[in-house]
């Protein structure tokens, strides 16, 4: 479980500059085991900063002013080192290329396991199992630089999964992917969440995709939590989302407009199936 208590963080600024704005401000929330959480918000809202504070890179790697507390599985992130936390939290970073420490797929997955001194036969077993799970066994000896974006993303996820963390953090994993690969990555995340009971926390700009997969949505703006609820409940918050500059799914917007025009008064759908039903309903009403 992850618990934020009155957490605020401000990156250190140069001596001559005036103090930076808080990147995160007054965050109090809990993320329980087994949740599938989506975090969204405009650029600079503090999404990456939030992921760093869960993995312990804040305050251990990034210097700054730290207020309140962040607990991961009962450990205070200020007190334990990120390496210790890494046994519980795995993070895939926003920049997919520069987080790779090896040039061959297999070596990349071995890296963490070697560091954590996992016994040889266990390493072999885990390596084969994560390769299979992400369906990248044929890529095993390939040069990472020769892979597509989606394949690289899978390798990054595999290298984290091999360490068997309870919590998996991903920072815009589909930022450079086409729609098809995006769905593929989210199907994998869903499986990790449902079958392997991992807590999955994913930062994502494409809110449409997010709503289709996550159970809980958190919206950040200027370092503050502006919305925190189930992905279905966004239908009631369209004005808020619009004011934050976040695109809501088109179907939700359509439902909202129909409702405002007094043409529809059912539940606003978040997916296409529901949208079809809504439109049929409206059309049927209009003909009478």
């Amino acid at each position: 479980m992850i618990r934020f208590q009155d957490f605020s963080f401000r990156y250190q600024s140069g001596k001559t500059e005036q103090p930076a704005e808080f990147a995160l401000k007054d965050i109090s929330m809990e993320i329980r085991e087994g949740e599938f959480v989506g975090i969204t918000g405009t650029s600079g809202a503090g999404k990456s900063t939030l992921t760093y504070s869960i993995s312990g890179l804040i305050p251990h790697h990034f210097a700054g002013d730290f207020y309140g507390s962040v607990e991961v599985n009962g450990m205070d992130t200020v007190e334990v080192h990120p390496e210790q936390l890494a046994r519980f939290v795995g993070q895939v970073f926003q920049d997919i290329d520069s987080q790779m420490v090896s040039s061959v797929v297999e070596d990349e997955i071995l890296f963490g396991m070697e560091n954590f001194q996992i016994p040889r036969d266990e390493i072999k077993r885990r390596l084969e199992s994560v390769l299979e799970m992400l369906e990248i066994t044929p890529l095993r000896r390939r040069q990472i630089s020769s892979l597509s974006g989606g394949q690289k993303q899978k390798v990054a996820i595999a290298s984290i999964l091999a360490l068997q963390p309870d919590i998996i953090l991903l920072d815009e994993p589909t930022g450079e992917l086409d729609p098809e690969s995006t769905i593929m990555i989210y199907e994998i995340l869903r499986r990790l969440n449902r079958e392997f009971h991992k807590t999955v926390i994913v930062v994502e700009q494409k809110i449409m995709v997010l709503c289709a997969y996550v159970s809980r949505l958190i919206v950040l703006d200027k370092g503050q939590v502006m919305f925190d609820g189930s992905s279905d409940s966004i239908t009631g918050e369209i004005e808020l989302f619009k004011s934050l500059g976040i695109n809501v799914p088109r179907v939700v917007e359509l439902g909202h407009l129909l409702k405002k025009a007094g043409l529809y008064d059912g539940e606003i759908p978040t997916e296409l199936d529901g949208a079809e039903k809504m439109v049929r309903e409206v059309c049927a009403d209009a003909e009478i």
């Binding site: 790697h61 970073f93 520069s98 070596d107 070697e114 560091n115």
Partner: protein, 251 residues
């Protein structure tokens, strides 16, 4: 094409122990420096090229040689005009331009440059940086941290070149003309180094974070999963290189 990039393959050269490759590359470099004979140095280069062709590395080896020829050629010209001893060969208006000694030492220096650099550069074509790092740690007990830093630096080179081209493209899109003389290109490129440095530092930092979160600091000598045993071929390769030095010294 990046001349330092690894070329995947499964030739005898590829399969040698990375430490043996490194040692052989250095020894052959020494061999080229020791040699005082134009013929021996030429033969050494031909031999190196022959081995490369046999191992399917011909194209890369020729590409490298072409690039080294430029460097070798520059050294040749410098040497040609700076060495003043020996019988005059070419003079203009009573002033000696080229001497016999100058010519022979210039040829030797040019060839020597090529023969020294070629094996070292080929090392990159046949060695996976990860393997080099692993073998240095396992076999030579180099501290992992240093082996990792050095090999990672080389791995980042293509990433930086790609980044540089991205920035250059961005500038071109804004209407900066890069065509023209070398000086003009250099002048226009200098301001790009600051953004390049910034983005490179950021990349290195995110690499460091990702390594840290995967237990980099917990690593010990026994951590490596792969073993890098020496085989007869490795020992043979090193012995051969030593013999070459001996031959070079005698001829």
């Amino acid at each position: 094409m990046n001349l330092l990039q690894y070329l995947p393959g499964n030739s005898i050269l590829h399969r040698l122990n990375p430490v043996a490759k490194l040692a052989a590359a250095f020894l052959l470099g020494i061999c080229a420096i020791v040699s005082q004979s134009v013929i021996f140095t030429t033969l050494l280069i031909v031999l190196l090229l022959g081995i490369c062709f046999a191992c399917g590395l011909g194209k890369r080896a020729l590409g490298l040689t072409r690039n080294l020829l430029v460097l070798g050629g520059m050294m040749f010209i410098l040497q040609l005009f700076f060495v003043r001893s020996g019988d005059p060969m070419l003079s203009a208006g009573g002033f000696t331009l080229i001497t016999q000694d100058g010519l022979s030492s210039a040829v030797l220096l040019g060839l020597r440059i090529i023969a020294t650099m070629l094996p070292l550069m080929l090392l990159f074509a046949i060695t996976e940086m990860n393997d080099l790092c692993g073998a240095l740690v396992k076999r030579l007990h180099v501290p992992y941290r240093y082996a990792f830093i050095v090999t990672t630096a080389f791995r980042f080179v293509p990433l930086f070149t790609a980044e540089f081209h991205d920035i250059e493209d961005a500038q071109k899109a804004r209407g900066v003309e890069y065509d023209g003389g070398l000086i003009k290109k250099l002048k226009l490129s200098v301001p790009l180094f600051v953004p390049l440095l910034m983005s490179s530092l950021k990349k290195v930092d995110s690499g460091a974070m990702s390594a840290q979160l995967r237990g980099f600091n917990l690593r010990t000598v026994s951590s490596g999963y792969r073993e890098y045993p020496f085989t007869a071929a490795d020992i043979g390769c090193i012995l051969l290189s030593v013999l070459m030095i001996a031959a070079a010294a005698m001829i």
